[in-house]
Symmetry: C2
Subunit: 268 residues, 2 copies
DNA sequence: GCAAAAGTGTTCCGACTACACCCATGC
DNA sequence: GCATGGGTGTAGTCGGAACACTTTTGC
């Protein structure tokens, strides 16, 4: 991550080398005698799914209600355990498609939380199995996203500021995902994944404002900056919403963006 | 990441929602009937360990020779499998301390590779167990790092351009890690983790040049920019290396940097 | 006409670029 | 002295910040 900027979670530490090279390389051989000490894992995938309600200027997070132990009745992020033969990303897409119907989305891996004790079932007196969570970050179009109500509608969009306390370590995942969302907006064209194909510069600006805060830039300066990038094409069509001058509808020009894909495009 | 920027690995896709909510929340209940389909994992930790040889202007990657099946005799990144009760980060530190003695290092999680078929032992006729790799990114001081020669010295620093083909998917990990390294340099003070406590601006510049390429900036402009940040303190001491005027020794001022920790500091 | 939203232009200023130039040391 | 590397300064330029101003719509 690139990034740009940062993508969190770092550590500075001291290591006093104590050589003991019994299970050196990666991954260790499964016929190794030290195997008895190895942890067995189930691997879960948890998705932070964001969308942006442009009109109300809010970032939304998809939460679901747990209907099973542990943490039954608590809100959490949609997740699942990885099945045999299934890649992590496949699992992430599967969870998504169980909760929501969208035609376009942006998905990328976020972080892996794997310490012991993050799941109550890891208690020593319980099954001797660890649960590891690979979190994914997703961005969907708010107006296109149809939630799939399951059971007694235990699924909802929460505005970022009002997300209830979530089970497990899912609060951290949301926080981490939001940081990634802000960074992504600043140096990548993710915004165009959550806007309609044809959009006004006002909508683009409101999207940025909703995510980055409404003092990140002046509208007219934002305008000139983003147009100077040359990655938007004016369709000539106009969109009128109530009073005010009708706005031009733009489309994101993927070809024009390609050469810039490496690193520039610093908004804000 | 920018991590500024970016930190790779993204995907755009379409999902046609097909509701099947049998194992909804995260992680699924272990008493669930669908459990038979869940994959069992061993979790490995693989470290890309970088250091910078300032004098020769090269970025180095630590590689080890595998001395066990599979892929015996091939170079790869130092890694290990996670043990019972051990956190991912603990495992990463353990591998490091088995290979190298350092007094300071920077370590952060990089990416999790978890598709099926990334390890030959995952063949269906083999143990029905998946191997997942959580990669970590580390930066150590080249001059302080003492390699712990194990067996017939199957451990070596390779200049980034000359790393031999590595086993598993470790080439990808190196590539991904190098991207992270470049991003980190641009917007975070990692550089000071791999420099001696007292260093000259010339050394700092050479470090940046080694990683980012020698046309990233003019020396004198780099100088003024980095000094303007106000995060370096001139100790008054001088360092002389052969001919030329002796250079001032600086120290990184952590307190002065703290308020900037959020995001500025864009070098390059 | 007036309010509301889109779109244009202008001025100021800080930061980055590309140099030229001075300083201190080893030989 | 001269080569080598450290350190300072300056002119040009580009881009962002702030804000005034014009244009086009609905009512």
């Amino acid at each position: 991550m690139p990034e740009q900027r940062d993508d969190g979670s770092a550590a500075i530490a001291s290591v006093a080398g104590s050589a003991s090279a019994e299970d050196s390389a990666s991954p260790a051989n499964s016929t190794n005698a030290a195997n008895s000490a190895l942890a067995d894992f189930k691997v879960g995938v948890d998705n932070v799914i964001f969308s942006v309600d442009i009109d109300r200027g809010r970032v939304l997070v998809l939460s679901v209600m747990r209907d099973d132990e542990p943490a039954i009745g608590q809100w959490c992020l949609p997740g699942t355990l990885v099945r045999q033969g299934e890649s992590l990303e496949d699992a992430a897409y599967r969870v998504l498609s169980e909760k929501i119907r969208v035609s376009n989305l942006y998905l990328e891996q976020l972080y892996t939380f794997g310490g012991p004790d993050r799941d109550p079932r890891e208690a020593p007196d319980s099954y001797n199995e660890r649960y590891l969570s690979v979190s994914y970050f997703a961005l969907v179009r708010y107006d296109e996203a149809q939630l799939i109500a399951e059971g007694v509608s235990g699924i909802a969009w929460y505005p970022l500021a009002g997300v209830p306390p979530l089970a497990f370590d899912h609060d951290r995942i949301v926080e981490y995902g939001y940081r990634r969302l802000r960074n992504k907006l600043e140096y990548s064209p993710v915004a165009f994944e959550v806007l309609p194909d044809r959009f006004t510069l006002g909508e683009l600006f409101q999207l940025y404002t909703a995510v980055l805060g409404d003092n990140f830039s002046d509208y007219s300066n934002f305008r000139t900056r983003v147009l100077r990038l040359g990655i938007l094409r004016d369709t000539g069509e106009k969109a009128s919403r109530g009073a005010g001058r009708p706005a031009s509808l733009y489309v994101f020009d993927r070809e024009a963006f390609a050469p810039l894909a490496d690193r520039p495009m610093v908004f804000i």
